[in-house]
Symmetry: C2
Subunit: 242 residues, 2 copies
């Protein structure tokens, strides 16, 4: 099946967790909003689909995925759907539930990362909530980052199939998401990460091995990988780092 | 099957979406942390389970559900698992995906509600982030509340099976969650809701019909329903309302 991914074209954002899964699996997909509007795609196609008041199953926000007749939104829900089809999760119910549970915890973490620069309102500019962002980011670095990374490290540590992956004995979409949050944290909070990332050796090892996956390595070097920037979820502002 | 729910005993919080589903289905369950510690239950049993470093699939946070051998965390994930077993969602894949997608949007909304009183850090007291909370709540009431409620209203409106339920032609766990957010918003922001809730007639109608479900009506009057309070996610502070 050829998938159509709909997500903002200029940021990694929440769409990146899906792009990484599609890339690792070598799946056929179109990143619709990154294509030309002259070809009937681009951001306009995404907005049109969201604003179609006649459609019965409207997504609340990007990303969403078109798979045949289905339109599926919510990042973790899309990965729940794609995982078994892409061979990126075990087929038994308990593996799928466990993978999804971890992915939802990744989603919660990503929301908290976003809120470090937008603690008051997503609709306001960063400059209009800078003092609040400084307080929020300081607490994030001191309490939340170690809580989440410590948890994910512990999950690998107690994986009954060994300490190579988050789940089971093979790479899953959750491992790709862990790669992305380590990448993102290093970009957004380089000083904080330099000081603390050694506390999470299994996560760093996993990050390293994901980066070496041939398809992921090619993807990261390609123009399909949108660079980090001050528009995305992981943002680097000197004043928010330690 | 007899389920064991683990959640904080003194608040509705995120556990309430699961309690409502179990109650509506007449399921056999134990609300473990609300039972006596002398019987080996209570909060201590929940904390022990979370701190068990030997267990292979640790939850990040409550709520979590024990179902036979499985321990499942993340509210929406628990409902994804329970829905078909409790007859609270259609059995076909597209219904389950759509219900889960809506439930994840409910989760996002609940996080934003929480952040109105804790925009800087969940670990700080409300009194230590009151000015920030006022800014955050004002934006929430002006932009986010109408965005989410407008979306949910639209979902009922364009339900191909009629405008009685969020999904299909029968009551699902998503309807119970919508009931809970209307209840919560009326408690937390009574003035804002009085001014605007008439804009969402289908949600109010759904809320009303859920409240009249015999098992839900009995539950709401029972001591099993924890009251709203200044400890939960929906909190009433005069200064945060309009």
């Amino acid at each position: 099946m050829r998938f159509e991914l709909y997500y903002w074209p200029t940021i990694q954002g929440r769409g990146e967790y899906i792009r990484l899964a599609l890339e690792q699996a070598g799946a056929k997909y179109i990143d619709v909003a990154r294509r030309a509007e002259s070809s009937g795609m681009g951001v306009q196609a995404m907005v049109d689909l969201m604003n179609n008041n006649e459609a019965p199953y409207p997504p609340f926000a990007p990303p969403f995925l078109k798979a045949g007749e289905l339109i599926i939104a919510q990042t973790a829900n899309i990965l729940l759907f794609l995982g078994p089809q892409l061979g990126l999760v075990g087929v038994d119910e308990s593996s799928r539930i466990w993978a999804h549970q971890l992915q939802l915890t990744v989603s919660d973490f990503v929301t908290e990362v976003h809120d470090t620069h937008h603690p008051i309102a997503g609709g306001l500019y960063y400059k209009d909530q800078k003092p609040e962002a400084k307080r929020c980011a300081a607490d994030f670095i001191e309490t939340r980052l170690p809580k989440f990374l410590g948890y994910f490290e512990h999950v690998i540590e107690c994986n009954p199939f060994g300490d190579q992956f988050m789940i089971g004995a093979e790479l899953s979409y959750v491992d790709l998401s862990i790669f992305q949050i380590i990448e993102g944290l290093r970009y957004a909070f380089p000083n904080a990460m330099k000081k603390t990332e050694f506390s999470y050796p299994l996560l760093l090892d996993l990050h390293h091995r994901v980066a070496l996956q041939p398809r992921i390595a090619r993807y990261l070097k390609s123009t399909r990988r949108v660079p980090f920037s001050k528009q995305g979820i992981f943002r680097h502002y000197n004043e928010l780092d330690v």
